[in-house]
Subunit: 91 residues, 2 copies
């Protein structure tokens, strides 16, 4: 495998990651009306901590735990923004 | 589907995202000796821009383009760190 073969594999992984991020975003948007109905706020620190714990437990590397945590912090931050919608975006 | 069903789906998406991030990290680490041999630096702005362009082109939403860009900036930043290794980490 040469440099460009590995890059093709990286591009393919990125394509799948992007697809899953949008899949996750769809689930997160589906939650909004359910949360509103149940009177649950968009920002739930306990649930977010649970997500980070799941990730930390499942991580087999080579990415170190702090790198994985930072990536998921960014992901969750963006998910929170789309749940709030453009009008309420207070990022 | 109730709140906890959607959360199960979110946890499952996170598990797959984590797996793909580590897969991508393995590819990126495989590149290091090839880059060294070819005299190519770890940080290649042109290649990184190409990755962002791929992502922007493939993004079908609901995540907006700027959200996707920020997530991939974080991913690529962490990938660069592991390529450099703990001794050369200048983050």
């Amino acid at each position: 495998m040469d440099l460009s073969d590995w890059r093709d594999k990286i591009d393919e992984a990125d394509r799948k990651i992007l697809e899953l991020l949008n899949e996750r975003a769809r689930y997160v948007l589906a939650l909004v009306p359910l949360k509103k109905k149940a009177g649950i706020p968009i920002y739930e620190p306990r649930r977010e901590e649970q997500v980070f714990e799941n990730i930390a437990r499942l991580n087999g590397g080579p990415l170190p735990p702090d790198a994985v945590r930072r990536i998921f912090e960014r992901i969750i931050d963006e998910m929170r923004s789309i749940q709030r919608g453009p009008m309420e975006d207070d990022k």
